[in-house]
Symmetry: C2
Subunit: 454 residues, 2 copies
């Protein structure tokens, strides 16, 4: 039985797919946090190069991928598509399971798919330095890699707790030549303000965003980059699904279900949007399922309203499924999924019933990941384990129903930098983090951001 | 310009190449450490399954790869061949540089190429458990991965200093279900003997081999596996070079120089033997260069004589280039290259002038690795950096001579578990380890093993 479906580098997509063109209800506009009025592209100019701002607002169905970007994509793209023969056998399921493996990129996840074009457009418009924030380091390392290839400086504000406790991705960023600062730092007013209140602050993603944005706006040669949530970031990731379509054609197959982990939405968008197009344009009924942590359940238990992208109000208001921008997710190991909100496009799709969401607790995700490692060989990132947990649930359902469904999921990265989390799980030291309805209600009650009338 | 040359899974070789068939002088036989008489295959039966013993002594040119092994190879094979366009540009060299990337395997190196068939043949002959030793953990994790797929137990004796100081590969082995014991342990007589002398012994590869071998010989359902040096191990790795030949055909190219890091020989054999065949059988003159650490220079400064494979005499005597089995290499980060001797086949080839060797000190290897990471994106394992250092040297030579040479090397693994070493280098904390001629002479003077009359 064929296990691996590969493509030639000439099969790397020449265009990204922009789902906005096919959405029955377009995403609502971002609003100014002060005036609550829709913001124009010009407000984003201090932060992003013009080409990315254009991509953020375009309604074109297809956006060309620059040849220079495709040239770098060749280092890891096309990524392989695998039939999960070992997992299928272990589950004794009639379901056919396929996975797209994005862990073959130099940074080890899908994040370089957008880091490289973001660095490219910045370089093209004369930017010398890009700032960004990172939690555990997946996004920061992807952007460091991309900046290294274009000869640009990269300043990464890394949440202090991760900077101290998870040093290996910091070292990876150093190897690619990036500057990594623990956040809060004394390099910014935002950081100084926090440190004045608490000299031992462990930091947060919200603080790190503030620092990175502050450094970008005060220097004309410096801009800022974000690794998920925004429309153009989601669009860049669609190379994943576009390749998967060709590979499943090779396999003579087509999915009934498409699954991906969900943090801000780019992972999920990357694999599912090209398949959702078959639903939106051709009336197919592929189920696209976002898998989120039970400890950060914005899609399954949050509300759809305007909210801030960061915790202290430096970003526009985005129409999102949110738990409230003050919600602090429990310290699960899937750091990439610890975000209070979802991007505008994905939120609109969920609201319109065009996609589904499931949540999983931490222990069942590691159990799923270890079964995967033992049957397929690859040790997944903790984020990817959420997708695997959903896949197992659906494959067991298919067995109960006796239906040979075809399931595709995004194995978005490897777990090489997460071995301590696996060890904790195996030694019984990991716990689940329950979120009470009271906690969610309390976080949402603090919001004074505009409601969405729907 | 084409960057990546991929093959379909149907291109995975159907046979391993056994260079013994084409060697003008066959490798000398292993000797019994007590009698100094050639040992027969039956002496290896407590340690290895019969099929591997047959492979160890066969002179057949081609040995079939079992379909079950090819099925698992599909998880990462064929591995990609890349044109190092970024590195070429940085070096401003007329040389064309290609690399075969073995880091895409689940364990992150070329080691699973032999771990999987070794586990397979053991499983086929009813073995329940495989024991092995590991230093930093590359080989132990590869065997853990392979045993996991075949549902076999795997007991890894890991050098205590690495067990304590480099825990991440240990955790990886745990994730695949292996038992990992710090060596010396109190599970074996060998271990107890060492611990009685020194309860805080940091261990060594030699002690760990003794423990793994002792556990294998005393239980009929348990056997032992080695990750390099032996003939069958080298042969299993030839899938690397056999694939590279097809990929360079795609590129319309053929190498003038083939380079690989050198520890026990399997890495080097894997990529170079299928090309050496063109020299041996067709009179071509491809230069095959083994790159070893200056701190463990067995090929460039050792002697060709019989020596033990381990430090305390439980293995047969092997005809090898050696620094003496009591030679303790300095604690460089390229743990996979810290071995006192070279396998019999590679030693004979070097003695006969059919291959070359170069050595590099640690700092220049990390410098080469960082240039590679910044220009090609992939962060190499410290072992692989030795090959890159040789490639850079040869590419600069080509530039001086104005000759457009074609260079191929084996990028045998990624450096995800070696980030602390990169960080040490970048912060100026790494040093070179000089080996004096006196140290080498002193180590060799201790040998009472048979000389080779040549």
């Amino acid at each position: 039985m064929q296990k691996k479906f590969t493509l030639a580098e000439t099969d790397i997509p020449e265009q990204w797919y922009n789902i906005v063109a096919d959405m029955p209800n377009k995403p609502l506009p971002p609003l100014h946090p002060g005036t609550h009025q829709p913001i124009g592209p010009e407000m984003l100019m201090p932060l992003f190069p013009m080409e990315l701002i254009k991509q953020e607002v375009t309604t074109d169905r297809w956006v060309g991928i620059p040849e220079e970007v495709r040239e770098i994509y060749k280092v890891w793209r096309p990524t392989p598509l695998f039939r999960a023969t070992g997992l299928e056998k272990a589950l004794d399921t009639p379901a056919k399971i396929y996975y797209k493996y994005e862990g073959v990129s130099p940074a080890g996840s899908h994040k370089p798919n957008t880091a490289v074009p973001q660095a490219f457009y910045n370089k093209q418009e004369g930017v010398k330095r890009i700032t960004t924030e990172t939690g555990a380091g997946q996004w920061g390392s992807a952007l460091s890699f991309a900046c290294s290839l274009f000869g640009m400086e990269c300043d990464v504000y890394m949440v202090r707790a991760s900077y101290d406790g998870k040093p290996y991705r910091k070292m990876m960023m150093h190897t690619w030549g990036a500057n990594v600062y623990p956040s809060p730092s004394d390099r910014t007013n935002a950081g100084k303000q926090i440190l004045a209140q608490d000299p031992h602050s462990p930091g947060s993603l919200g603080i790190a965003i503030s620092e990175a944005v502050e450094m970008a706006v005060q220097d004309e040669h410096t801009k800022y980059a974000l690794g998920s949530v925004l429309n153009h970031v989601l669009m860049h990731q669609t190379v994943i699904g576009l390749e998967a379509i060709k590979q499943l054609e090779q396999a003579g197959d087509f999915p009934d279900i498409v699954v991906a982990p969900f943090g801000g939405g780019s992972n999920f968008a990357g694999i599912s949007f090209p398949f959702l197009r078959y639903n939106l344009a051709e009336g197919k009924q592929i189920r696209c399922i976002a898998a989120e942590p039970a400890s950060c359940p914005k899609l399954t238990r949050g509300v759809f309203r305007y909210d801030l992208g960061d915790t202290i109000g430096m970003t526009p208001l985005i129409p999102m499924y949110t738990l409230g921008h003050n919600f602090i997710p429990a310290p699960i190991h899937a750091g990439g999924l610890r975000y209070h909100g979802a991007g505008a496009i994905v939120s609109q799709l969920l609201h319109d019933g065009l996609i589904e969401a499931q949540s999983h607790n931490q222990l069942s995700c590691f159990e799923a990941g270890i079964l995967f490692a033992k049957t397929e060989g690859i040790i997944p990132a903790p984020e990817a384990n959420h997708a695997i947990a959903t896949v197992i649930r659906e494959a067991q359902q298919a067995k109960e129903e006796g239906v040979p469904k075809t399931i595709l999921f995004n194995l978005c990265g490897h777990g090489h930098f997460d071995m301590a989390a696996y060890e904790q799980y195996l030694s019984g030291k990991l716990v689940d983090h329950e979120v009470t309805q009271e906690e969610i209600m309390a976080s949402l009650a603090e919001l004074d951001t505009p409601l969405i009338n729907v």
